[in-house]
Amino acid sequence: MKYYVLIKMVPDTVEELIIGADGKSLDTDAVRPKLADSDEHAIEEALLLKEKIGGDVAVVALESPEVEDALFTALAKGVNQAVKLTGDWSQLGSLGAAQVFAQYLAPDGQLSADTMVLLRSQAYDDLEGEIGPCLAEKLGVPFVGVVTRIVPGAQEVKVTKEFAGGLRGEFVVPLPCVLGIQSAEKPPRYVPIAKVRAAQKTAKIEEVEGVAPEAQRAYEVERMYLPEAAGRAQMLEGSVEEVADKVVEVLAQNSLL
């Protein structure tokens, strides 16, 4: 089995996000990129599948700032291959990205039968929608998203998809397929930084020139801005002691103590 995991860097929202001078995008200098959460899970799920039934894991990313760090980390975790598709993708939307990946995965349009493509279900910056379903469409294979469990079979996989309120559904998906991973069966494994450094010395990221897509973004952001602090919480100021006293007071006022 060959597992491809398609990853993407997203702005770390723990940092302050600043709107760029154009008023339509984030200030890229102020952004600290990190791997999208559910991509971490997609890598983990692929590694777990490999451990269960064997196969090779390739992690593939479009060229973007700091993506090498994520690729080396994946290599340190045990993926077999890390690929960077080179090109200027700064203006690419999700549909375009799906086309670039499709071209890489199946230049002749055919994904081989023993292939599973895993990627995030959704990232918080996917304004033009999710890549997974478009990629599946382009490759002519089935897609299921918000997947939290994969049970591999010979010609098909059984997947669990999340709905809401804790309700889930089980589906059978023939191979090859594209799966949007929400969370892996186990939490993503940790790799010590020393191992990542070692991977940087010994392993290689393959660079493949990406083929520019036909699809251009079909929308244009008119304005990007920070939300107004509407209905802001009443802030309880002071030291930890003082805040604790104030919280107790609020709870008492609300007959909770």
Partner: protein, 323 residues
């Protein structure tokens, strides 16, 4: 050309989902402003019974085909594409839920209509629809203009009042014939939510922990506070995904919807997917070291101290107060 608005009705296990009424409320407002018809489409089994609940629409298109229940995004998009074509509608609304994920995206890929994700507000301006999206976990908003109000909008659950989309009455029900290829993906079964040891939907007091709690060991600190308050501990998704608490304790879009008398959110940013599950809480007190965390926009009270420092002190004070 109707140039109208088409709503893709979401339903699960024979029930219309709340998001459908949210979309109907928004759709009605936009349709009235644009002076175009509002149409809803329902596909699946027993669609007449479902469609008759959609009185807010001017008409409802019924695609009776049990194979379309829980069909893949691609199959659903095929139906929607055909109806879009038949109706000559300009704008499509789909739910931004786990059930509908991918439907709008595939439709956009096929029609090359612009697709706008995460919509939490929309207005009509000079005949165009301007949609506001909530990005980066609620930290940034983006306005996008859909020229001639042509496009596909994925509506954020909980962003619009469902009440505005409910109207009794008998909408015009129109059977629609749409041929679709059988889906390669087969539905097997539902897996019911695990209630686990504690049913968090039935608790009066919830101490909720997020990624800010930092380690599994620190969850015990929250357990102690919850015990002192006579409540239970619940969590945001990253905590559950780390395996620090069972799935039955997850609050949010894919987790549980809770409405306790007190929701004490510790180290939770307030991403829309989390907010969706706890917005109905009577009193929300949020503790987050980041003064700009979105959780403070909806919480009643907030504090920017370190949750790990606060927890033991607060637990002691609560115990002391209770005697």
């Amino acid at each position: 050309m109707s140039q109208g608005i088409l709503i893709w009705t979401e339903h699960l296990r024979g029930q219309i989902s709340e998001i459908t009424f949210e979309m109907l409320g928004l759709g009605r407002q936009l349709a009235d402003a644009l002076k175009v018809p509002l149409t809803a489409a329902v596909a699946g089994a027993n669609v007449t019974a479902l469609g008759s609940q959609l009185g807010m629409a001017d008409k409802v298109l019924l695609v009776e085909n049990p194979a379309l229940t829980l069909a893949t995004a691609a199959t659903q998009a095929s139906v929607l594409q055909e109806l879009l074509h038949q109706e000559q509608a300009a704008l499509v609304l789909v739910g931004g839920t786990n059930v509908s994920l991918g439907v709008g995206t595939v439709l956009a890929a096929r029609t090359r209509l612009p697709y706008i994700n995460f919509c939490k507000a929309a207005r009509v301006e000079d005949g165009a629809v301007v949609a506001t999206s909530q990005l980066f976990g609620g930290k940034v908003l983006a306005d996008t203009r859909l020229a001639e109000h042509r496009g596909i909008i994925s509506v954020y659950p909980g962003a619009f009042p469902a009440e505005a989309g409910r109207r009794a009455g008998s909408p015009q029900l129109i059977p629609a014939a749409v041929e679709v290829a059988p889906s390669p993906v087969k539905f097997v079964q539902f897996i019911e939510p695990e209630t686990g040891d504690v049913d968090i939907t039935k608790q009066d007091v919830l101490v909720a922990v997020g990624r800010g709690i930092q380690s599994q060991d620190n969850v015990a600190l929250a357990e102690e506070l919850a015990a002192a308050l006579g409540g239970a501990v619940c969590a945001s998704r990253p905590v559950i995904d780390q395996g620090w608490l069972p799935l039955s304790r997850q609050v949010g879009k894919s987790g549980m919807t809770v409405k306790p008398r007190l929701y004490l959110a510790l180290g939770i940013s307030g991403a829309p997917e989390h907010w969706e599950g706890m917005q109905g809480s009577r009193l929300i007190v949020a503790v987050n070291t980041d003064p700009k965390a979105p959780i403070f926009d909806g919480a009643h009270y907030g504090a920017t101290v370190d949750a790990l420092d606060l927890l033991p002190v607060l637990t002691e004070k609560v115990k002391a107060r209770k005697g």
